[in-house]
């Protein structure tokens, strides 16, 4: 809401006037003085001056002469509105520029007055109306925001409240199914399995409801790492193999073995793959097949292309643009499959978009559907460049720091994963944002977690950094988890004195070198023995 009262109050209302020509400025000043209200006019010649004024003070209103030569019509009021979204803008227009002024009003300017027939009364009325209109708009926007917040709270509350009775049903059904309340007759077991299936569906819907809300608010969390996409596809397929077999649908995988590492959130990507494969199975009849593929495409070398194709009944042309919409459900789902809330594809697409990828569908009725998406490949050079170059040159001293976290043999999996995540956050706080880079960690199957930092620091001073990491990350480990920490560093050789390569090529060289050392020591970390861990424990 505006802090100023209406124009009629006793304090002079501040008006910021932007007019390049002195005669235009004088005319407006004169009219404002003639009016019954008291105005304090601050007149500046250029948009840039006005932006500077708005930095320090919020006027009641901005009056903009639409033909200042140093600015370009629409561009000028857009910049003002961007800088001060809560301040109403009224345009002073020439007779000939009226169409442009009308366009400006459509784009969010409150009003316009024609300079040639400007009167004190008219200007005053225009200012008052502009202020009132802006206040209303702001009030509407605030109400909309409150409503959105309420919706979020409501969904979060509902999903929490629904989970409690659902948990109870889940517990008792599984108690019965596991025979913990006495033996069950075979048909009773079948009935209970049907109940459990519905409980699981309900559970998935509640989860989707929250996820979709997050996606809508841009709060869907994505933590990219280096991942082996082939491995993820194998995991997704393994988890859905039983579902496909039960329905008599074939499930095949075709992964190009030469695909490099992908830069993506493994859990989220798995979610997308499972969603697409599960859908494909659902819409494919017995004896049909589902094929999951991953490949590189020549025209787009920085992405991997994934697709899930089915031999199902396909999607009609009219429905194609709508399948990714929220709450879209296939109106022809007749085979007894419950379609769920219609949020799965919406969430999947949002996840892919958050990774910087795209998702689309191709389908023909009767000939199955293919859902495709892209994910960015991991490019160390692209990530490294801002950290290891300075003023167009490669920095002189670069080292590779390795941080290894090892859980003692029986640490809990969930807590350990969480601790590693926090260790990574702590590690990011230890390094300099513009000179060092914490490399995205590799998704490793083992319990040992290894992080790498490429730091722009000489070997003579690297101990300062290593000690800081030992202190900060070590403190976290000791405090929370039964794990040990090892921090080491090695120099990365700089380029030769007369290096004919471009900086870009030099960065590529460093990236290759770093990749090689990291891979040589084994990202999977399986070669570390229990003894090594304890010897190096802090």
């Amino acid at each position: 809401m505006m802090e100023h009262g209406p124009v009629m109050e006793h304090d002079a209302a501040k008006v910021l006037l932007i007019a390049e020509k002195p005669e235009a400025a004088d005319l407006v000043r004169l009219r404002l003085v003639e009016s019954d209200c008291r105005y304090e006019v601050n007149c500046v010649p250029r948009i840039s001056d006005a932006l500077a004024c708005l930095e320090v003070e919020t006027p009641l209103l901005v009056l903009l002469d639409l033909n200042p030569p140093h600015s370009h019509g629409a561009e000028s009021y857009r910049r003002i509105m961007q800088k001060a979204p809560n301040v109403p803008v009224v345009i002073l227009s020439g007779q000939d520029d009226e169409p442009m002024a009308i366009k400006a009003v459509r784009q969010g300017v409150q009003d316009y007055v024609i300079k040639s027939d400007i009167t004190a009364k008219q200007l005053e009325r225009s200012i008052r109306k502009a202020v009132e209109r802006k206040e209303h708009l702001l009030a509407i926007e605030a109400a909309r925001q409150r409503q959105l917040e309420f919706k979020d709270q409501f969904l979060s509350h509902v999903s929490h409240e629904l989970r409690t009775p659902l948990t109870c049903i889940h517990q008792y059904v599984t108690l019965l199914l596991d025979g913990l309340a006495g033996p069950m007759a075979p048909n009773q077991t079948e009935h209970l399995k049907a109940v459990l299936k519905s409980v699981n569906q309900l559970h998935a819907m509640i989860r989707d409801l929250l996820e979709a809300t997050r996606a809508e608010n841009g709060k869907l969390r994505v933590e990219p790492r280096c991942v082996d996409i082939g491995e993820l596809i194998r995991q997704a397929v393994a988890m859905l193999r039983a579902t496909a077999a039960e329905k008599g649908v074939g499930l095949e995988v075709g992964v190009d073995q030469t695909i490099p590492l992908v830069y993506a959130d493994a859990d989220r990507t798995l979610e997308v793959l499972m969603n697409l494969i599960d859908n494909a199975i659902k819409f494919t009849a017995c004896d049909g097949s589902v094929v999951v593929k991953a490949a590189m495409v020549e025209t787009d070398p920085s992405s991997v292309y994934l697709s899930v194709s089915d031999s199902g009944r396909g999607i009609v042309q009219e429905a194609l643009p709508r399948v990714f919409e929220r709450l879209y459900q296939d109106p022809n789902a007749v085979d007894g499959n419950r379609t769920g809330l219609g949020l799965g594809l919406y969430i999947a697409k949002e996840i892919v978009t958050r990774h910087g990828g795209r998702m689309w569908v191709a389908s023909e009725p009767g000939n199955g559907s293919t859902f495709s998406f892209t994910l960015p490949l991991y490019s160390l050079a692209k990530l490294l460049a801002p950290a290891i170059t300075h003023q167009g040159r490669l920095r002189e001293d670069i080292v590779l720091v390795r941080v290894e976290l090892t859980p003692l043999s029986k640490a809990l999996r969930g807590s350990w994963k969480e601790a590693c995540q926090r260790a990574l956050e702590r590690l990011r706080q230890c390094v300099s944002v513009d000179k060092d880079l914490v490399l995205p960690p590799m998704e490793s199957g083992g319990a040992v977690e290894t992080f790498h930092v490429v730091a722009s620091i000489g070997m003579d001073r690297v101990n300062i950094l290593l000690d800081r990491i030992r202190d900060q990350v070590g403190a976290l480990l000791k405090q929370k988890v039964n794990g040990t920490l090892r921090v080491t560093a090695e120099p990365i050789p700089g380029p030769p004195a007369a290096d004919p390569r471009t900086v870009e090529q030099q960065v590529w060289g460093v990236a290759d070198y770093v990749t090689e050392i990291i891979q040589r020591s084994g990202w999977s970390n399986t070669h570390f023995t229990e003894k090594e861990n304890h010897e190096n424990a802090h």
């Binding site: 517990q171 807590s415 929370k480």
Partner: protein
Amino acid sequence: MRTENDSDGLPINRAKIMVVDDDPDLRQALSLRLQANNFDTVNVCDGYSAIAMAQKEHPRLIILDLGLPAGDGFAVLKNLQEYPALAAIPVIVLTARDPESTEKRTLESGAVAFFQKPADNEELLGVIRACLRTGWEKSGSSPS
């Protein structure tokens, strides 16, 4: 039946687990499952009783809901730390709340694991057994 022992030589079989949840049906179902897996159980329904009962019964592990009357789960976690005899008992949080907003805070408050309801039974039992086997050491204890 095979007898498992934890690091202190105490058997895992018949280890006493305290279930803190304000929903009586869920408490009972959880207890039944734990008992079927050879654990002894004590049930309490609110935050205040949780501390009193823990002092009286000295459970080897606590399964704790967060939304509780008379002191929520976070208050219970905090209060447990204040009694030297109770501070070392591992606590597994089992709640309907959203992990995105509560998991981190829960673990930072001293819980050893976080599960959202409804939890997978086998996964929960796995973590319970792991906790009892390691004789889980909490905050401040040195690993070696």
